[in-house]
Symmetry: none
Subunit: 193 residues, 2 copies
């Protein structure tokens, strides 16, 4: 073959597109030093859709996964179950970049972020803001741990627009984090953090 084998090029092509779906056939042709037609034949063999379809796929994924009060991309951790104004569950896999290098323990703010995101998501409103929270880091969490966080709505006050949410995070069944969050429901325009 020419520059490399066809196989090799197609392997790289798949990778490149997976990495950056926004690339056009022409850009790919330049990068791999082949004609646009070759790229198209490759895509066909590999069953890779055209640029516009790829972009649409990415876009619609975000859209589908949208839970009423918050787009999925604003959540830390993945929501696996949600019942608005009642309870929600998310998982968050702790990786190397989340821990202190010195001792391998996860930084508190990542656990807080997961809990806070979930508290926001469980509120069935345009957008909820955290007003106050009281939290305790019960046990250290390390890289590799899978943190399962549960949010339970425990109270609601219509007058003050406040909702109380109880958060509990566990790793292998052991509680690592607990918190109580006071959330403010926004009606149109927000007021608080």
């Amino acid at each position: 073959m020419l520059r490399r084998t066809k196989k090799e090029r197609q392997r790289l092509l798949s990778e490149t597109i997976a990495e950056n779906p926004f690339v056009t056939d022409e850009q790919l042709a330049t990068r791999f030093q082949v004609s646009v037609q070759t790229i198209r034949l490759d895509r066909m063999e590999l069953a890779i859709p055209e640029l516009r379809e790829r972009i649409k796929d990415v876009a619609s994924k975000t859209y589908e996964n949208e839970v009423k009060s918050l787009p999925i991309d604003e959540i830390i951790g993945e929501i696996i179950d949600i019942e608005l104004d009642n309870r929600a569950l998310s998982i968050f896999d702790v990786k190397e970049e989340h821990v202190f290098q010195r001792n391998g323990i996860a930084r508190g703010h990542h656990l807080f972020a997961q809990a806070n995101s979930l508290a926001v998501a469980v509120i069935d409103d345009e957008l909820a803001l955290t007003v106050h929270s009281n939290i305790t880091f019960v046990k250290p969490v390390r890289a590799g741990d899978r943190v399962i966080t549960k949010a339970i709505v425990i109270g609601r006050d219509e007058n003050s627009h406040r909702t109380k949410v109880e958060l509990t995070s566990t790793v292998n069944g052991e509680t690592v984090f607990v918190g109580e969050f006071d959330m403010y429901r926004t009606k149109g325009e927000g007021e608080q953090q």
Copy 2:
């Protein structure tokens, strides 16, 4: 005017597209019983981009946010002054990626992260871990705001290895966040979050 006023139609048009960016001009023309050209004039006046651009926007947002979440390393915000075991000061510039798209208000966990990082940094020890914290988001923070956070060590108990730190964040002199952090001093090996 015809079916309704132009204004009314444009208002509905904005809404419709905001709700479902995947709709084409032709579909919109059918829905509003006007010609495709009218829809295009409307979009121009309202500065709404074409379908493909809208979809690309949605897609690239997911893509960006996927990489982001909470910044990886060390300290959130820049420490500009520190006096170990006494006090510390950091600044954090709130950018677009830190706020809810919906209302432009910063997500709580970014402010928490800045405060938490500073609380860890101010402790003169190998490494400190947050055990407990009680925080209040006093005022909403928005993109463009420069948050100045001050940490003051207010108490220390040698027996329990605990240190209390008081955190206050301000924007233009106005308090936006306050918190009290209970920190655990690690001697070699850590125990807590």
